[in-house]
Amino acid sequence: MSGLAKTPMFDEHVKLGGKMVPFAGFEMPVQYKNGALKEYTFVREGGAGIFDITHMGQVRVSGADSLAFLQYVTTNDVSKLVEGQVHYSALLNDSGTFIDDITTYKISESEYYLCINAANRHKDVAHLQQQAAAFDVQVNDESDDTTLLALQGAAAQTALQPLLDTDLESIGYYRFAQVTVAGRKGIISRTGYTGEDGFEIYIPNAIAVDIWKQLLANGAEPIGLAARDMLRTEMGYALYGHEISDSVTPVEAKLMWITKLDKGDFIGKTAVETRRSEGPQLRLIAIKLTERGIPREHYKVYADGAETGEITSGMFSPMAGGVALAYVKPEHAESGALTVEIRGKAVPAERTTLPFVRSNVRR
């Protein structure tokens, strides 16, 4: 796997029996020695799962025009953020389709921090730097220096608290604190991608292995990409390249809740307004098979026997069975008998609501 990057934890993953696979330009663990199902169960049933998600990118935006710049390049209303708050947001093209989905952290009136997808990092940074030319802002890609660990599950706070002076109880859902950990500065937010309580931990690479080992010593167990995808799919959380891409807008992706058309101008706004008034070309729905089977990405979906769309993410959920997200024609979002084609057979499915299993995030 030459040419692939390694995170600071690479040797730790191998020691823990991590099965390393290429992922977004990195060699990352798809699972460890106990397997994805046990890892999934550990997170869902009260443990503290630790995920190396260092492949993700971080961008610091600073300068007098930071707010105006982010209002223009992102979809959510950044003026609503208070210091220490995070929100989910997106970068759109002029055509209203997704460049990426991101989280935006407000550090101060003149400083923000963005977390972006690994596979989109260079595209995002180039876009942001190009747009920044018209504003008094600096856009700094800090991805190469930053380790990102997610600690997820009911025991996350117990495992993390001993490493910090900051009282984690004071950090609410989608809030963050700038902390000192192992003598270095970091950011800890009560955010995640699993539907469980937990944190995302941004730290300098130099202390990453130390923090990783301390969290394991406090009872955390490592979780690979396979279990991470199970956990996020059960919540119905969108993943770039699956539910969102440069061919759909927030109207199709059910992400108008992060797209604030009343906040002033932003890139993609006009196109989104047009799409919304014309109506979406596709709609994202949640489905559940009513017979045995596993719906998987790219499987075809039929309504009343006619092809209507395709699955974007699908899985076997130990708690909910065969569940999937799918884009279908708008007229089939709410009516029509659905089937999923699995190896040539039509397996019946029903529409359901998200999340597929109960969310335990702290609100």
Binding site: K19, V30, Q31, G35, A36, L37, K38, A226, A227, M230, R292, G293, I294, R296, M315, F316, P318, R343
Partner: protein
């Protein structure tokens, strides 16, 4: 990694136990370990006639869908229905409770290896 001496193996990591004219099929310990947690097994219909080397079943792990190929030709006379509810038996007992199907042999086989030959094949 276990490789029982009383079974034959294929290059696709299936095993076959031949007793008289009945052959029992499964996947090897190596195969189940490479696939990871198995969460679904699609069994063949009883009475189906399968050729040697034909895909007769499907196993699905958390991340992947894999065909399972018949080591010998024959007619399916029994399937392991317990795998419908407990597919993880393929992981926990690949050569025992994780068997997939039994066929009445019709003669034709693909290249089969002894345990020693399979072990050598795995090491290569």
């Amino acid at each position: 990694m276990t490789i029982p001496a009383d079974l034959k193996y294929t290059k696709d990591h299936e095993w076959v136990r031949i007793e008289g004219d009945v052959a029992t099929f499964g996947i090897s310990d190596h195969a189940q370990e490479a696939l990871g947690d198995i969460v679904f097994v699609e069994l063949p219909e009883i009475g189906r006639t399968i050729d040697a080397g034909e895909a007769y079943a499907v196993v699905e792990s958390v991340k992947a869908v894999s065909d399972v190929y018949a080591p010998v030709a024959g007619e399916v006379i029994e399937v392991n229905e317990e795998l419908e509810g407990e597919p993880e038996k393929v992981n926990t007992d690949a050569y025992g409770a994780g068997w997939i199907a039994k066929v009445k042999m019709s003669g034709e086989t693909i290249e089969l290896m002894s345990d020693d030959e399979y072990n050598t094949f795995l090491e290569e």
